[in-house]
Symmetry: D2
Subunit: 355 residues, 4 copies
């Protein structure tokens, strides 16, 4: 495997995107297009075969690479799969044949066991890969990623929650039997490019809509991560990119603001993509999706509610970046020994509209 | 007191709006303008004195009544006060002199005791009125409203929460010592007409912003109503009208879907402005602010989360209507023996944008 | 024909809505539901047959009338057809058999001749009705409407333009050979309930998108009305309801501001739904869709640009109301001798989001 | 003057931003922060003095440079002034003393003569600089920029219009006496960070609002560029970033689609930031602000309207980038012999909300 050095001076690695005409596929193409260490060798799409990537994704207007048939894969260093849930498990052998490293953005390889998977999804046709795959979040699996054959990029709502709660568990402020409510607000890009009546602009604009009151599948990833079931509810709101998780946590014993600062600093002070936004002045004093739109940042913050013995944790990401394609590229950077932030340097905009 | 009959055939009652150039004042003017039993005798505004109400509120374009000096009150049947918190307590004697019935939309008279008030707000200069005032929500105080001298319209976020949780307490599915998390999402009209940097369009658009992580003052009204402290967090989202309260409730014992339907039907089946939207098909199968925008409806719904022994209750209102001016007019209708729905018949729009 | 009196004291007229599950059909149901002189006898829908109107249109939640088969029409006083273009011409004989008065909201009967129609649309299968039909806008056809058998509700963009330019032609400030550019901005409800990729929330939000650079079919109605071809371009913007037409007019001779005020006052001073908003103070000093959202108002305003010898006319409507269902009900009111404003009294909201 | 080479290998140039807490100032800071050839030496702000740039601009969260007193300027290679109109003319001597190259983003130095300036603005206190300054747009002044002492970044609406119309004049399809109507739609960031009632979220959301019916000052720049007065009208719409100019042009003689393609290709085929989007398939087949949000691209497109002998030209930019800070950095790159696209590589996002 030809691995680029930290200074990006070696030959670029070849990359392909399977399922490149969807939203996360397009985001991968954008990131790889601007990445100093990757060269896009192939982008596939069944629905957009032979169209240029620039005619499908307006931000890539002028880019002339054409989508090719997904069944005819080129040999590459890294293959990113951005196909609907259930497709990757059918094609995983072909993916593995085509690439040294496979990064899958679907839910197919996020859980560790067939039992877990089948509790939340339908049957799994390639469950032998489940235990081999590494969950993509470098903030939690940095040690396991280098050299991984199969990386599973996390669910966006799970990612926001895991990043928000992680320091509480890592610091042992929580022991694993607490009451935790996670109230998530997400944008319309989570629904994908497909659309449907509920996603049409007249019906989807201006909403605060309960779309997963209970039993959202991303609960499975959170439970796998922390060994605890959380009370999870997802609302659709009027933005396009963005997932905001508000975690209402009831610790067993007393927790101080200083404990919280300690926990979050311990976990994130050295992380290139994690920022703590917790009180202080100004308009943007807590995490919010607008401040991370288009970036790979995860912003987290917290407050104490002594009257109710509650910790409130806020976590905001761009669901298509830190919650999907950005996480995937970040993990690939780590897996391949590249500069962690390579290709993910965009700082975001101010002001900016619905992210 | 000249009281209109249910058929609206008697002489109209005179009404005044103190503080008519603000958002809730304008909403009162709109409602009274279209009300079969009221005639607007006076609208006051310090900042817009001598301007026509139609030049301040574009929906009233062409209405030529002019705002007058708030210190020179006419004698009327009903006075609606839509002034900032703290003003009404200073002027309450003048209001009571001017009108048989005073409906106050501020926080000044919502709590029952000086102690409660001063725990959440600053000092109270007319606390003798606190125990006399009646909380406006007819769904909870219909018996106390007729003949009331002073009616206090509830806080919008408290109203959404109280309407959502009420049936659980009334039916004794909850006993008062449960864990309850209320996660609220509100629109920008809650900030009033004043504005400020955080409310400017470039900074306020497209947000999911924690604006009251803990200790929001509306908690006081909820605690007063149910005798229980709730864990309350408010987020600002990209809409103008609307408050959506998601209540995560952990009952002590088992609760079935049938219990829930029973509780909500018992409380709301006969209520003219309460609707149950709970599952079923279609896009709008749970309560959402968009479906009640401009109306006096309160939509409530619920789901069970057996894995976490949780009830999730959704409650959606238009914060300026059911959460403020509509609630006030509804209460006045009840207090004065008018048709309850008079002046509040607007059904809302479909489709419609950010409410 | 049983005609209601001006005071609404006589027996209600029966009305049906063919195509009631679409956006304009839903708007008709809302208006008829609140109309003092009409009773909804039937609502048909092929796609939503047997569903309640309240399950399809969330603002009518709780209304239990069920959609019926559109081929089985009941006999009514008035039939409103809100079907896609081309359907009414196929069914017009059945419509006329079922009702004394037919109001069609499609483009099928707006033009006077088969030649005109076929220049802009495809072939016409019932062209014998073209010369009989009356264009719905009471501001221009009040005299022709009473007793009309077939009324054609105008296109929304054409309506905004015709209301904006009408006074200039009526007052003879224009003679019919002037250069006129009309630049229109419209909301997403114009696309109907169907949706499609371009209408999905992620692609449709936040746009200023040229969707009809030239040759929009509504030009035909404008040309028919004034005998002049206008340069017409339509943009989709981020709202749901609303059409805003900016007319850039180059008169042959000098025109003063006083001439303009005279022309618009002559045309609209007595019109119940037309308002002149032209300069003056405040935020809403020109017409804008937000100020008429949900209402049947047409707001018009104007400015002179002496440097370029140009008149700029602004015209704003709610495309689903004045531009469609409201216009239809207004025309029916006039046709049947009812109070003109009956059922159309809603004043709109302030503040309010994307209309 | 120490000039960086095209490969960016030499020592970075020092840059300062005067007025760095406003919107365009923040955009400059973002661009310079990521620019391979610049190092931010100083950012000044009167209102935010001593605050970190990251606490004012949430996308720069974590950046610890503090705003300093604007009267105490450091010596730098390039000074960017992002102060309100009228400030730069008062301070131009100090700016010129502090820096080899001054790039001014206000209107103070865009026009060539005192007469022009005073026709559209108030008096000019440093008019001797007017003839020396170079208009920033490299697409039109690439030859004049290298070595310029004072560069004036164009007005956003003027920039969109000039980029849209330029090829028609350059190719001599227009001769300069044609009728041209320019109908512009802009986002709320044009109003700056200051705000005010009309800019508050409840009043500014969801609008199509005529805010400059006639006599917008950017007309002056267009007239200076092409020697022709255009009929110019600006509307505020619901986005934050973005200016979209629709130019309705009436050529004196016949013009074919081929002529248009030729003209636009001749002007823009080699331009790194200009893209032609004109028909073809897909949702984004014409220019729209959403497709250029956050980028320095200018997208232009066109259609012919033979029936009205009209050319319709669409031009879309991000008003804060190509229309302001991006244009300024682009011009500085050209002026200093750097790679033209340095620091301006961001491709934009898909999908993305209101830009």
């Amino acid at each position: 495997m030809a691995v680029g050095g930290e200074n990006g001076s070696t030959e670029p690695l070849s990359a392909s995107v399977v399922g490149g005409s969807g939203f996360t596929g397009g985001e991968l193409l954008r990131l790889l297009d601007g990445h100093p260490n990757f060269e896009i060798a192939q982008a596939t799409s069944r629905s957009a075969e032979n169209k240029t990537i620039g005619s499908v994704h307006p931000n890539l207007r002028g880019r002339t690479l054409r989508f090719s048939d997904p069944t005819d894969l080129e040999s590459v260093d890294v293959l990113f799969a951005a196909t609907p849930h259930g497709v990757s498990m059918e094609r995983i052998d072909a993916f593995e044949d085509a690439a040294d490293t496979v990064v899958d953005l679907s839910a197919d390889f996020r859980l560790n066991t067939k039992e877990q998977y089948e509790q939340w999804y339908d049957g799994h046709s390639a469950s032998e890969y489940l235990e081999k795959s590494v969950y993509a979040l470098p903030e939690r699996y940095r040690e396991e990623l280098p050299g991984a054959d199969l990386i599973a990029s996390g669910g966006c709502n799970a990612t926001a929650t895991i990043l928000g709660l992680g320091p509480l568990f890592d610091s042992e402020l929580l022991s694993g039997d607490e009451q935790i409510v996670v109230d998530v607000k997400v944008g319309s890009s989570e629904g994908g490019a497909g659309g449907g009546a509920a996603s049409s602009h007249p019906e989807r604009s201006g909403i605060v809509r309960p779309y997963a009151p209970t039993s959202h599948r991303h609960e499975a990833e959170i439970e796998q991560e922390f060994g605890i079931s959380v009370s999870f509810t997802v609302h659709a709101v009027d933005m396009i990119r963005g997932a905001s998780a508000t975690c209402h946590v009831f610790p067993n014993g007393p927790v101080s603001k200083k404990d919280l600062w300690g926990a979050y600093r311990d976990s994130y002070a050295e992380e290139p993509f994690m920022r703590i936004a917790s009180g202080g002045g100004g308009v943007y004093r807590y995490p919010e999706p607008k401040a991370v739109a288009g970036t790979n940042y995860g912003d987290v913050g917290f407050e104490l509610d002594p009257a109710n013995k509650r910790i409130v944790v806020f976590s905001a990401i761009d669901n298509m970046m830190k919650g999907s394609a950005g996480q995937a590229v970040h993990a690939a950077n780590v897996a391949l020994g590249l500069e962690e932030t390579a290709g993910l340097e965009f700082q975001g905009l101010h002001p900016v509209g619905a992210p």
